[in-house]
């Protein structure tokens, strides 16, 4: 029993061969599976967990004025295919002229992996290379090569007792589609104006908003975004990054704040920008 317990722990918790290129890393990386096994034809969710020491942060897909995006490169057997990485809504770090978008604490970067309908082996190994830049007052490049081995079973996989809650919590904090919102965007002066209002039966009282553009160099992280309530509903004016005259789409995460500056919602939006 003892040795079996050890083996299954190793299976579910692919440990990091972690390290930063120089000095000790302040981020612990691990590869987790939501389920205990893989069933042919049924997608499986895998996640890279980054646990940061107090005061350290890593970066979102748009790092902002400095830093580097955190990247996950999946390596899986033939027929398996990793979907896009689902990241939590970013936080703001720093102050002008250097403002960054990133994460601190512990984050789970989730990917849904499609699974072929026929698998000959009784187990599969999925690997992920994770690259990040970790910063506090100083920065260090970090990297981990992680892997996880999962048994292949013909039946529906049972959720992993250790990991199911971690995945549930991560996915419930991820940006959501803007269901129930009417959203449009247009170019306005030297920036982007995003208009949004609850549609249909939806009710919401928004006291503030911030737009995290997915594309680096589109909106200016160091510029103040202006929130207002007008005839078209709520509006958020986001100045462009220096040298950017126009962007085709407002693609990113629109965070809505309620009373007391609390985050009420993080909407994943991608709307065309009328010129």
């Amino acid at each position: 029993m003892g040795s079996r317990g050890l083996a299954s722990a190793a299976v579910l918790f692919g440990l990091a061969s972690l390290g930063s290129a120089e000095g000790r890393s302040h981020v612990a990386a691990a590869l987790l599976s939501e389920a205990e096994s893989v069933q042919p034809g049924r997608p499986v969710r895998l996640g890279v967990r980054l646990a940061m020491e107090e005061g350290w942060h890593v970066y979102w897909e748009n790092p902002g004025d400095s830093g580097l995006p955190t990247e996950v490169l999946w390596k899986a057997p033939e027929g398996f295919r990793a979907g896009p990485v689902i990241r939590p809504a970013p936080e703001i770090f720093g102050e002008p002229p250097v403002v960054n978008y990133g994460h601190d604490g512990t984050v789970l970067l989730v990917s849904e992996m499609s699974v072929p309908s026929r698998i000959r082996a009784d187990g599969v190994t999925v690997a992920a290379r994770v690259e990040w830049l970790e910063c506090r007052d100083v920065c260090l490049p970090g990297r981990a090569d992680l892997s996880i081995r999962l048994p292949v079973r013909p039946r529906m996989p049972a959720p992993s007792p250790e990991n199911a809650e971690i995945f549930r919590s991560a996915l419930s904090n991820a940006p959501v589609p803007p269901d129930g919102w009417e959203i449009s965007a247009e170019r306005s002066g030297g920036g982007l104006a995003i208009f949004f209002r609850p549609a249909g039966k939806k009710r919401a009282r928004v006291r503030g908003a911030y737009f995290f553009s997915r594309a680096p160099g589109s909106t200016d992280p160091s510029a103040r975004q202006r929130f207002s309530l007008g005839g078209k509903g709520y509006a958020l004016a986001c100045p462009f990054f220096e040298g950017t005259g126009h962007v085709g789409r407002a693609d990113g995460v629109l965070v809505l704040y309620g009373a007391g500056g609390r985050r009420e919602a993080s909407l994943s939006i991608d709307v065309p920008v009328s010129p």
């Binding site: 120089e22 720093g94 260090l140 490049p141």
Partner: protein, 205 residues
Amino acid sequence: MRKLFGGLAFVCVLATAWLLALHAQEAELGKAAPDFSLEDMDGKPRSLSEFKDKFVVLEWVNHGCPFVKKHYDSGNMQALQKDMKDKGAVWLSICSSAEGKQGHFSGEEWEKLNQEKGTNADAVLLDPDGAVGKSYGAKTTPHMFVIHPNGTLIYKGAMDDKPSTDRADIKSAQNFVRLAMDQSLAGRNVRYPLTRPYGCSVKYK
């Protein structure tokens, strides 16, 4: 009442003028690069206006930053410095790290560091209060600027097009500073005058 409005209007005009003045200080592409005066590592004041009629390259530096290490440990930065100087440019490395922050060194320490790194810069200028860094909008180390002999800013941005800390990326990277200088020397327009810089944040106070 009218007096009050008059007073308010005056305050508004003042505020606007102040904002415009603030904005005017920012280094803007195609406009005159703001002059500055900073001490070098010997404590001697140096200013941009000393180098009138020459190309000037400004490099924001912090030797503790892994992006800066990438370009110095590989010899890429030193080679670029030599190349630019051979083509007639003056190279000024500027350090805006505040006292107590990463990359801040005394003049003596800089002298040692420069020898160790084998820099080919003409001078290292110290900007511990960050005023010059902020007036140029320097965000990262490295962050590169090229000033034309006529005094206008012709390049502002990244070292190259491979944002990483990996030395292996240098070989295949397009160096924007070299490109800007070469195109300008050939009397052509600079193809990428403004790029998004990459690196560590400048360690302002």
